[in-house]
């Protein structure tokens, strides 16, 4: 395994350890919400990482449609998978946080709906890739990714418009709305830790995919060679 990767992985875990300590012990307890508020230190960074991954996937997909490069496709797949995982975490931690604090599991506000739609789009992306025949999954998935990327801002705005006409209490304030200084530190450390962690996991998944691709190529090369030997019958 590459030394750079090991270094990054160790750094990620170390950072995560530190940021967890910050989040669970150092940061003060929130006055109104109590201990459960600490989910915030995981929930928001995971959302950020998921968004980043999906953005990477869009860039890789667009690039892949121009230049059919296997490495780029591996990166697209890796970022999509990791994005879906982090998005799942967001969708689970969100309701867990909302229920005790605001009394409701879910509401169709702009942020939540957009997150859910993103999750649906990328879950269908993964299914499309898995079930496409031949080698078409990469191309079809890339096309879907373009659609998804165009759709997300429209989703966000459509719900915003909806909520101006059908207002509801907003479920959570903005990430930086009046955070006490120690909480802000804890939050930023976690943001950093999760970003590094996310990148490391994407990197790892990318490497695995590249190995898979190399194995496929090796099988193909072997099949090509053996026929050349036994084909001139």
């Amino acid at each position: 395994m590459k030394p750079a990767f090991i270094l990054a992985a160790v750094a990620a875990l170390a950072l995560l350890g530190f940021s967890t300590y910050e989040a669970l012990y150092v940061a003060p307890t929130e006055a109104l919400q109590g201990e459960v508020q600490r989910i915030f230190y995981y929930h928001v960074p995971c959302a950020w990482v998921a968004g980043l991954c999906f953005f990477f996937n869009f860039c890789a997909s667009a690039w892949f449609l121009f230049r059919r490069n296997q490495a780029v496709d591996a990166f697209a797949l890796a970022s999509a998978e990791v994005g879906v995982v982090f998005c799942t975490i967001v969708l689970i931690t969100g309701p867990l946080w909302a229920r005790p604090v605001w009394g409701i599991w879910w509401t169709w506000d702009a942020r939540l709906t957009t997150t859910f739609v993103l999750w649906l789009i990328y879950a269908s992306y993964l299914i499309l890739r898995k079930f496409a025949t031949g080698g078409q999954g990469a191309v079809l998935g890339a096309a879907l990714s373009i659609f998804g990327f165009a759709d997300v801002p429209i989703v966000y705005f459509s719900i915003r418009i909806f909520r101006t006409q059908h207002p509801q209490p907003v479920i959570a304030g903005g990430e930086n709305s009046g955070l006490e200084i120690h909480m802000l530190y804890a939050f930023l450390w976690n943001l950093l830790a999760f970003t590094i962690l996310g990148l490391v996991i994407v990197w790892a998944r990318y490497l695995v995919q590249r190995v898979d691709q190399a194995v496929e190529e090796a099988h193909k090369a072997a099949a090509l060679r053996e026929s050349a030997a036994g084909g001139a019958a």
């Binding site: 789009i121 269908s124 499309l128 025949t133 078409q136 191309v139 079809l140 096309a143 879907l144 429209i154």
Partner: protein
């Protein structure tokens, strides 16, 4: 010697062919009609609201049933091409792929619109609907909304025929992407029915959605159809 065929000619011929074929076999129309009727009746049974409430929820119910009916149609159009494998003959010819896409999309548009024209009166009857707002906006909303569903649906149906789980994959991909359009359609319709607020912002959103996604579909269709 043959010449490159005109885009409009291919479009016209393909739509004509599809409509003629549909008229003869009545595959899609029959299943769509029956399914939609079923949906209208079931919804009417399950939700038996007062006149006040019915105007609130009718928009959602109507568009849900149109959506389900549209998915049935969308699966059918490409299934026909698959049966005859005529897609190969099309790809081998100099006809532009986008003309095929638009022809399929417009054909679907015609089918679904016919369906809507049949179902809307039924809904109006069952729910005793009366538009308190500007009813002339309803056809506009219907056209923009139906196109939003059909244009993406035709594209995704073309993609899903290349997978092993055709019919299941189409709604799976289509629904999340169509969410903002659905929201716009439902809210615009409700706005017109209840007269409580203006549907204009939703109509604008639908227009933007239609323009954006029609462009993306036309840009990417060639890639997808030749992805063998």
């Amino acid at each position: 010697m043959s010449v490159a065929p005109g885009f409009g000619t291919v479009l016209r011929m393909t739509i004509g062919k599809d409509l003629r074929m549909e008229w003869r076999s009545k595959d899609a129309i029959n299943s769509m009609l029956f399914f939609s009727l079923l949906v209208v009746v079931i919804f009417s049974f399950s939700f038996d609201p007062t006149a006040e409430t019915s105007r609130e929820i009718a928009g959602g119910l109507i568009w849900t049933s149109f959506l389900f009916a549209a998915v049935v149609a969308l699966n059918q159009t490409w299934a026909r091409e698959l049966r005859s494998q005529a897609l190969d003959a099309f790809r081998v010819s100099p006809a532009p792929p986008n003309s095929l896409f638009l022809a399929k999309a417009l054909g679907n548009m015609i089918f679904v619109t016919i369906l809507e024209c049949l179902m809307a009166p039924l809904f109006t009857m069952f729910y005793n609907l009366r538009a308190l707002g500007n009813w002339k906006l309803l056809p506009v909303i219907a056209i923009l909304g139906t196109w939003a569903l059909v244009v993406n649906g035709t594209f995704f149906a073309a993609m899903s025929i290349r997978t092993r789980i055709r019919e299941t994959l189409l709604p799976l991909i289509l629904f999340p992407i169509s969410l903002p359009a659905l929201l716009a359609m439902v809210n615009a319709t409700t706005a017109v029915l209840t007269g409580d607020y203006s549907p204009i912002i939703w109509i604008k959103l639908l227009t933007v959605y239609d323009v954006v996604f029609t462009t993306i579909c036309l840009m990417l269709f060639g890639t997808v159809i030749n992805a063998e």
